[in-house]
């Protein structure tokens, strides 16, 4: 039993029966192709999300979000949302030694911003001068100063894309814009942030001092969130509990009341990431696996039909000396050849497709080796599986009956 000869004959059969081969290969091709694309892009996407999350929620950061909801879930902003104040942050800094610095922020939302007659909606957020170190820096001009914040100055920082949309090519530094009906002077241009965690464009934004946002834009005494940096990340748990204690005390929450704020810590973030990971590492590959299985069923059924059509051939082979195991081997090799060829074609299509998609997203092309080897192994396994029953049927045929 010469396996290389049987394989050569099987490949020959594939080429000479193009329509039948195409029908057989479609399922496995699509399944393997999809698996490759999903794995290649999924790996990249997960890494990107992880990097983004890590830059926002680095190991030393805690984020407090106003609004209650479950203690450990993501902030939902339910319940009273006007209870977090700058004074709270000052108290936290004073009373908890592990807190190195705090930076308040107030989300104003989309407001009409006008420049020399032209206006558009831009997302406005208020920050303190601390945000320079806690969030991101400016590439041109300068950040807010402490005086700006204390004096509720009407100064603004603008993102690159917002600047381009509003001012065209003009240098934004020193220009006047109106936010709503309030005039502001642009003092700095924010460094690029790309696509944010929630898919928003972080370069189409305007920052103003948080106090200005509170008093001049929103007439509020509260903030919407704060970012805290701790000195010693190993004490995160204790610090978290201390923050909770201080805030509950300051907000006069009785023991039966839930927190009216949420905290996001690195541990929580890791859990969230693992949760979203599951989509890429479990869910989508599972769907691809189902597609491949369907492909296997297609191949098995088409092979059964083929065995039936080829009864005289099988009888003849037995008449000239083929044993049952020769016939079995022949059909197993035939089905495995079909799936391996289909798998390779699917891999090729998948790799090409994933490179195109990654390229369009501006990411570097990477060959998904892991996906490719899994795809190939799966193809071989599927071929063997699909061939078992047809091969057995073929081997059991009686030459006397088929050669009549």
């Amino acid at each position: 039993m010469n396996v290389s000869h049987i394989t050569a004959v099987a490949l020959r059969g594939l080429l000479r029966n193009k329509l039948r081969s195409a029908l057989m290969m479609i399922g496995v091709m699509v399944g393997v192709g999809a698996l490759t694309v999903v794995t290649a892009i999924g790996e990249g996407a997960v890494k990107e999300v992880m990097a983004k999350i890590e830059s926002t929620f680095s190991a030393n950061n805690i984020v407090i979000i106003a609004g209650g909801g479950s203690r450990h879930g993501a902030a939902r902003g339910e319940g009273p949302t006007k209870t977090l104040t700058i004074a709270d942050l000052e108290a936290l800094e004073a009373r908890i030694p592990n807190i190195e610095m705090t930076g308040p922020s107030l989300r104003v939302g989309a407001k009409t911003v006008t420049y020399q007659g032209a206006s558009r909606q831009v997302s406005i957020t208020g920050y303190s001068e601390k945000a320079e170190r806690l969030s991101r820096n400016v590439t041109r001009g300068s950040y807010f100063t402490r005086d700006d914040v204390e004096g509720s100055a009407r100064v603004a920082l603008i993102g690159e894309d917002a600047a381009l949309e509003l001012l065209g090519g003009t240098d934004p530094i020193g220009e006047q814009v109106r936010i709503g009906s309030v005039p502001f002077e642009i003092v700095g241009v924010l460094e690029r942030g790309g696509v944010g965690m929630h898919g928003t464009n972080t370069d189409d934004v305007i920052y103003v001092p948080v106090t200005t946002a509170m008093r001049r834009l929103m007439n509020a005494e509260h903030i919407s969130s704060a970012k805290l940096r701790v000195r010693d990340a190993t004490q995160m748990g204790d610090t978290e509990r201390a923050i909770e204690r201080v805030l509950r005390e300051r907000h006069e929450l009785s023991t039966d009341r839930e927190n009216d704020f949420s905290m996001i810590t690195p541990v929580l973030v890791q859990e969230m990431v693992q949760e979203s990971n599951r989509t890429f590492t479990l869910f989508l590959p599972l769907i691809s696996a189902i597609a491949i299985l369907v492909g296997a069923l297609i191949i098995a059924s088409l092979m059964l039909v083929s065995v039936n059509e080829r009864r005289p051939e099988i009888g003849l082979r037995k008449a000239v000396g083929a044993r049952s195991k020769d016939i079995q081997a022949q059909f197993m090799v035939e089905s495995t050849t079909v799936t391996v060829v289909a798998g390779l074609l699917g891999l090729l299509a998948g790799v090409v497709a994933s490179q195109i998609i990654l390229g369009a997203q501006g990411k570097p092309p990477t060959l998904p080796w892991e996906a490719m080897s899994i795809g190939l192994a799966v193809s071989i396994a599927v071929g063997l599986m699909a061939g078992v029953i047809p091969a057995r049927r073929a081997a059991a045929l009686d030459p006397v009956e088929t050669l009549r």
Partner: protein, 232 residues
Amino acid sequence: MIETESISKSYTKDGGVTVRALHGASLTISKGEFVAIMGPSGSGKSTLMNILGLLDRPDTGAYRLDDQDVGSLSVDQLARFRNEKIGFVFQAFHLLPKTTALENVELPLVYAKGGVSHDKAKAALRRVGLEERAAHFSNELSGGQQQRVAIARALVNDPEILFADEPTGNLDTASGEEVMKIFAELHQQGKTVILITHDSDVAARAERVIRITDGEIISDQRSEEVLSATGE
């Protein structure tokens, strides 16, 4: 070299009816003979050929081929025997579709100890005069040419015995004549040729005619005796 002793074979058809295809058949065929087994359809001649050709086993009786009792051989051993000692030619040719003449002739070599050899296959095609058609696909050949390729396939392992089941049944007179000439040549070269047929003209080409009806051998004579007996 072929010795059967009172072999019988029955089949049960769907519906539970048992058909006695062969009953008490005994014969001896020596090496190098040219024998025709003649009978109407349903007479059991194909059953007899299947048993002689090791494709089937008798229910009762003994069959010795080359001094070997084939009843004791396993299915795999029988396959090897067929591969090495027997060549088959069928009425319907049974060439593989979408396959060239050469690839068809090579088929028995796939299951032989020596493996596939283009030279052996070409030599076999040469013996039937079809060497130039080696690369033609089976559907590009005429009926007569296809049957000659089938004969080449039967010869490629150089077997001692050739079984032919109605070899000219699907051919016109001219092609049929070509094919019978080849069998005559092969017989002259020392092969044992056993033909199954219902056609008396074909049977006349053999040296010896064994007549079979309703599963029983009714006569076994030299060909000339047969002809003179029927007055042809």
